[in-house]
Amino acid sequence: MERISKEEALAHFKSADLLDLGEKADLVREALHPEGMVTFVVDRNINYTNVCINQCRFCAFYRDAESPDAYVLSEEELFKKIEETIALEGTQILIQGGLHPNLGLDYYTALLKSIKARFEINVHGFSPPEVCYLAKKHNLTVRETIQILKDAGLDSIPGGGAEILSDRVREVLSPKKIKSGEWLRVMEEAHGLGMRTTATMMFGSVEAPEDIIEHLDAIRSLQDRTRGFTAFIPWSFQPGNTELSRDNVGLQGSIRPATAIDYLRVLALARLYLDNVRNVQASWVTQGLKLAQVALRFGANDFGSTMIEENVVRAAGVSYVVSKEDIIAAIKAAGFEAAQRNTYYSIIRKF
């Protein structure tokens, strides 16, 4: 099938009938995953600290180091969380945190080594902003930093912090966060070192349709070179308790969450555009189970994580209490076979 150009994608985004777009995306999903299976990973999202110097305007989670509810997780708490994850048949921990001014590379390597010494679990951790922060702090290259983390036990890198890969938007949303080029650079270096990563996109804030296409194109171009992305995960900005929604940066009227129809459109378009990324995740955490089921017919083939713990989105006022059984039932009710996978999308067990 011929590739969609940026111009075509933009035209689709602005004016295509959503059912037509969804149907096309559904056909692509079916061609890539003809077995009719929808996967999920059992993992725990562990936020080792909420202290962050970046202070992004769309984030409700970060605190100053002096804030009374600032924290850094103790080893004891961390190990307990991992033990619980393994007890729940979890295969992965997603470990991410703020950019804490007092935590250096030794903290990270010690953390990774202590986990790997005790547990057999995939450590999916430290998104590009964290990697870049450490590189800068220690005057290392991105590649050297990733190599050190990898040697200490880091298995794969999550795609967080991509937000929208358009510096115009980043200037408004997260002026202190790494720029698009740096995010892509971390991913390229990680892929070069043989690590797999995911790619995300947070839409529904202040971006224009062109920015979304720009983002998809950046991912597709990099993937053409490296083939290192396992999955693409679009999710929508959740405006509760954030500076962005309080200030209405550059917008008339308040920022409303992206609607279901916006979400399905972005998802379907992503499935069509990212012809070289095998998996697209539905985000039940931001969309709820019912729309996530619909998303399985608009291009998604993966239900993401069971999210044993999710702090960041919950801080923005969204929380769905969902068990692994709920996720399996939801996948089956949507007409698919449900299977637990690992970080690399290998099937562990079918339900």
Partner: protein, 354 residues
């Protein structure tokens, strides 16, 4: 292929057969079905999608019926039971502005006489002469008839004279007898529900119709239900809107799972296609959630219902939706679906468009 034939026939004013409807329900082509349903909706209502600023009042949750799928009802003296006085009802209605309709449904109270309901409706009508009063499901009407010893026509005429204009469509559940007996053995039969509606239409009360799905029923049961509604509507023309109600499994005796979002959308689309004599198909956001309701506007629905201040019945069964949406929220959702937002009153008169 089959869809193409059906689509052409519907465009020419033809109808779906029972077999075709069952076939489509079992068909996986949600895009094709959605498209044909959306076209049918557009022929009826253009690009319009309606909403209403309304208020729900539940006068009591004390109920002699205790249906198995209901998490709202209580017995008398049970913890959590409540009853509102007529003054409290009037007070609640006074506390909100810009409301065009009140929606009143409640339990079958063991002690309140029929006259109490007449007094309730008359008092609301007297204090709020312009408010649309939508009240009492067929189940309550049947109960009034039994406790008062009056016939349906007399009960309904008296309520209408007191000020009742519209009846909600609740209590239809699913007509199929076997399933109905498992779900709600104490409740009136499907036949009796339709009888009440027929008499209501006859005395000049407009009503809605509903179907509760996603519990124990088959697709055949759903089609049977929708065809019975279509037949009655052919006879009376008194139904305003159809509302498919997704079953909520939490806190009920039947248990089970939530219907899938895909099933919700398909059921909306199928109801639009089968109920060709209904003007409106409602995607009731309190039941479906705002996300599926908005998406349903592309699958044949033309109404999101209301701002709904205070909704207890669904939330006690584990609805994950918020308890209220503002007028602006509803307009935003409709516009983002590419439709024209129309605020309506209880009788689908247009109040505002934009």
């Amino acid at each position: 292929m089959m869809l193409r034939v059906i689509s052409d026939r519907i465009k020419g004013g033809g109808r779906l057969s029972y077999e075709e409807a069952v076939g489509l329900f079992k068909n996986d082509d949600i895009f094709g079905i959605g498209r044909v349903a959306a076209e049918a909706a557009e022929r009826k209502n253009g690009k319009k999608a309606y909403f209403i600023v309304n208020r729900h009042i539940n006068p009591t949750n004390i109920c002699v019926n205790r249906c198995k799928f209901c998490a709202f009802s209580r017995s008398k003296d049970e913890e959590g039971c409540f009853e509102l006085t007529i003054d409290q009802i009037l007070e609640r209605l006074s506390s909100v502005h810009g409301v065009s309709e009140v929606h009143i449904v409640g339990g079958l109270h063991p002690d309140w006489p029929f006259e109490h309901y007449i007094t309730m409706i008359s008092a609301i009508r007297q204090k709020f002469p312009l408010l649309n009063i939508k009240a009492f499901t067929a189940v309550e009407i049947d109960y009034f008839s039994r406790i008062s010893g009056r016939g349906l026509e007399e009960v309904l005429t008296k309520l209408k004279e007191s000020g009742l204009q519209i009846m909600p469509g609740g209590g239809a559940e699913i007509f199929a007898e076997g399933i109905r007996n498992q779900l709600c053995p104490e409740k009136i039969s499907g036949e009796r529900w339709r009888e009440v509606m027929e008499v209501a239409h006859h005395v000049g009360i407009k009503t809605n119709a509903t179907m509760l799905y996603g519990h124990l029923e088959t697709f055949e049961d759903r089609v049977d239900h929708l065809f019975k509604l279509r037949d009655l509507q052919d006879k009376t023309g008194g139904f305003q809107a159809f509302i498919s109600l997704a079953y909520h499994p939490k806190n009920t005796e039947i248990g089970g799972f939530y219907s899938s979002g895909i099933d919700d959308l398909k059921t909306i689309a199928m109801s639009r296609l089968i109920l060709d004599n209904f003007d409106h198909i409602k995607a009731y956001w309190i039941m479906l959630g705002e996300k599926i309701s908005q998406t349903a506007l592309l699958f044949g629905a033309d109404d999101l219902d209301g701002t709904i201040i205070e909704e207890k019945i669904t939330h006690m069964a584990g609805a994950m939706t918020g308890e209220g949406m503002t007028r602006e929220d509803l307009i935003y959702l409709i516009r983002k679906a590419g439709k024209t937002a129309v605020e309506r009153d209880g009788l689908y008169n247009e109040i505002w468009k934009g």
